[in-house]
């Protein structure tokens, strides 16, 4: 290579970089569509989560646009598939966040992915609601990061309350340590169980990429607990259910399984499995009121569009996420990212998954009362008698 091409290359580069400084992405304007990004796992192991999010967001966007849009403008959502891959999710998030025409983002329901994108939310100063339960966002230290799903600590507490109320004394736990959802949830359950006087007879980390869980299942059976709690997401939950069937020990899952996409493949072996879920999953069994109306407003069109199949937990989460963002934009009367963030931080809104009250020190917005304990009965998720009793006096509406 001669020096001439190199000098030309460097010269062209410098000139173009100078030009580029003046052409950075334009900010969200006061006309045209209001743009929101959604990063979700539409393929890969967590596809059941992302597909529910996507379908719910699309349904809500259609409804909102049919009713005049947001601030009198059309709502437009750009959806990116992160392939259940954390680096890909961060890449997709950054791509949307770098485009100043986007007002806000709904980040992945994969907790690891949303957690990893957290610093990008700050550096890009874009208000973001995670569709997964990200504990790291709860305290509001990351000004731009919110979560619209009950965090694992809340699930853990609700789970322990339930176990104690059932009179159980010995618990075995298996969890994934490669995901904050599993590791944080496990710790919350262990701490809560000890505080409540329950005996944790086994606490075992498992590799959810595996397909044979019989070694840990053998250990659980040998420990003879009153219940076996499993903190995982994805296909591993179904495999564990199948391999644990017939043990005679009650199996307890968490919100990641509160979906037909778990119930159907689990089949007969899934019957009787108990799990935590958001309050909307047993929505049909809630007493009449504002919360039930909010749930029905989303669930009824879904039932029509999905041959009578009730929305899964992730669909309700997606609907809540978009409703929160739209309410914040309406409250801010602007698509300016800072104003929307400020509006989000002082928002008080009833959604299908409970009443959200965000504050500068609470970016989680909901409490334990937004969690239900459900059980697989006849291939459907039904509220347990424990939860039905709670609904009478303690609804997050």
């Amino acid at each position: 290579m001669t020096k001439k091409p190199l000098i030309a290359l460097v010269g062209v580069g410098l000139l173009t970089m100078t030009a580029a400084c003046g052409t950075a992405g334009s900010a969200a304007t006061s006309s045209g569509p209001v743009k929101i990004g959604l990063v979700a796992p539409l393929t890969g192991p967590f596809a059941p989560l992302g597909l529910g999010d996507k379908a719910a967001v699309e349904q809500e966007v259609a409804r909102i646009n049919a009713h005049g849009g947001v601030l009198g403008r059309k709502l437009e959502v750009t959806i990116k598939d992160d392939k259940t891959d954390v680096p890909q999710s961060v890449t997709d998030f950054n791509q949307l966040a770098a485009d100043k025409s986007y007002t806000a983002i709904l980040s992945s329901s994969n907790v690891s992915a949303s957690t990893a994108a957290g610093p990008s939310m700050q550096s890009n100063r874009i208000p973001t609601i995670a569709l997964g339960p990200v504990s790291a966002f709860k305290d509001g230290k990351n000004k731009y990061a919110f979560t619209c799903v009950a965090i694992p600590e809340l699930y853990g507490e609700a789970l322990v309350d339930y176990l104690k109320a059932q009179g159980l004394t010995k618990v075995a736990i298996a969890y994934t340590g490669k995901d904050p959802y599993g590791s944080v949830g496990n710790k919350a359950t262990v701490d809560g169980a000890k505080a409540a006087g329950l005996d944790v007879v086994l606490d075992k980390e498992i590799d959810v990429a595996g397909t044979d869980f019989t070694p840990v299942i053998s250990q659980v059976k040998a420990a003879k607990p009153d219940a076996f709690v499993v903190w995982v997401a994805g296909p591993a939950s179904v495999i564990i259910t199948k391999q644990f069937a017939g043990s005679g020990i009650p199996l307890v899952m968490t919100g990641a399984e509160a979906s037909n996409l778990y119930v159907q493949p689990a089949g007969q072996e899934g019957e009787g499995v108990t799990m935590t879920s958001n309050i909307a999953v047993p929505g049909r069994e809630l007493p009449a009121g504002a919360l039930k109306d909010s749930i029905d407003a989303f669930a009824n069109p879904w039932l029509k569009a999905n041959k009578g199949v009730y929305p899964p937990q992730f669909a309700f989460d997606g609907a809540t996420g978009i409703q929160l963002l739209v309410a914040a934009i309406e409250k801010a009367k602007s698509t300016d990212r800072e104003k929307v963030r400020d509006a989000l931080e002082s928002l008080d809104l009833l959604t299908p998954t409970g009443r959200f009250k965000f504050s500068p020190t609470d970016h989680g917005g909901i409490g334990k009362d937004a969690i239900a304990i459900v059980q697989v009965k006849g291939g459907e998720l039904k509220a347990t008698p424990y939860s039905l009793e709670q609904f009478k006096t303690n609804l997050p509406d």
């Binding site: 091409p5 030309a8 580069g13 393929t43 770098a98 690891s112 550096s123």
Partner: protein
């Protein structure tokens, strides 16, 4: 083997590359393509000039990215310092592992490098100091002094600048005494040794050089996607680098660039096709794998030396003064 393109062609390519970030809406694709070209330029030198194969070039990309991730988040080093440090660390790592690894040859060396990548991945996912299960997030944006990148476009130019440095240094190295020793290896190691070429150290040298290029690409990647974990460097990506090198043409300065652009554009086009409504979500990976195989077979059948040498041969065969 070392035929160079004309000045005009280089200038046109440079102008096009510099204008592209201004007109492309997808900066991510552009940055990834340019950084792939950086890695493949080094790999092309390793495979083409030195006759050594590597299926695990991602290991050195990972080392460069980790240098940036840990340097900025754990040790508080300035972004420019870690950017410069990353290729050095990757090169030193390659020097250390290269001595025993390069005793292997052919397929064994290829599998050895793949094993190295898997070991690096395992170390990253299991050692908390290297990110552990959750990876390293919170990598600050690149900046120099008081200036910090707040947009994706400057990364496109940073990647282009890195590519320019890599191409320039590759050209200088190939023409140097070390370059002649390196080229001698691809013909016959025995002949090279009998001619006085220090075979072992030359192999390690070119291995370290290709690793340094990969480390540089990894450093920019870490700033661009401010998250680094073991999953950031899948083996498939390393295989793609090999395909890019073969398609572009081994042992050419520009083969890596051409291969990276051709394969990246093809994969992007297939991604667009596979994400059309009506196609199942599994269509994308299936089409991608099929494309890798097809491209490689077509390249080996019809362009066994790769695009750049083949086009170069056509230019040589054309009579002087004939119309273009």
């Amino acid at each position: 083997m070392t035929r160079r393109p004309s000045t005009l062609l280089v200038v046109v390519a440079a102008v096009a590359a510099c204008i592209a970030p201004l007109v492309l809406s997808d900066q991510t694709f552009f940055v990834h393509t340019v950084l792939a070209a950086v890695v493949v330029s080094g790999l092309s030198m390793l495979m083409g000039y030195a006759g050594q194969a590597s299926l695990g070039q991602g290991a050195f990309v990972a080392v460069g990215a980790l240098t940036v991730a840990l340097g900025t988040t754990r040790w508080g080093l300035p972004p420019l310092v870690v950017l410069l440090l990353a290729p050095l660390v990757a090169g030193m790592f390659a020097t250390v592992v290269g001595r025993p690894l390069l005793r292997l040859q052919g397929h064994y060396l290829a599998f050895g490098t793949l094993a190295l990548l898997l070991m690096v991945q395992t170390a990253m996912s299991s050692i908390d100091a290297l990110g552990g299960a959750y990876g390293v997030s919170g990598i600050p944006a690149f900046g120099v002094g008081g200036w910090t990148v707040t947009d994706q476009r400057p990364y496109a130019y940073l990647a282009l600048a890195c590519l320019a440095v890599v191409l320039w240094s590759s050209a200088r190295i190939v023409d140097s005494r070390f370059g002649r020793a390196m080229r001698a290896l691809s013909g016959s190691e025995t002949a090279a040794e009998s001619a006085g070429v220090p075979v072992g150290w030359t192999k390690v040298g070119v291995f370290a050089l290709s690793a340094a290029f990969a480390g540089l690409a990894g450093a920019v990647t870490a700033f661009f996607t401010p998250y680094v974990s073991a999953d950031s460097f899948p083996p498939l990506e390393s295989f793609t680098y090999v395909i890019m090198a073969v398609v572009g043409g081994l042992g050419t300065i520009w083969g890596g660039v051409v291969g990276a652009v051709v394969v990246s554009v093809l994969l992007q086009a297939l991604n667009t096709v596979s994400s059309q409504p009506g196609l199942p979500p599994t269509a994308a990976p299936i089409i991608q794998y099929a494309a890798y195989g097809t491209v490689l077979i077509i390249a080996l059948l019809f362009l066994p030396r790769g695009i750049v040498p083949s086009v170069g041969s056509l230019r040589l065969r054309r009579p002087q003064g004939s119309p273009a």
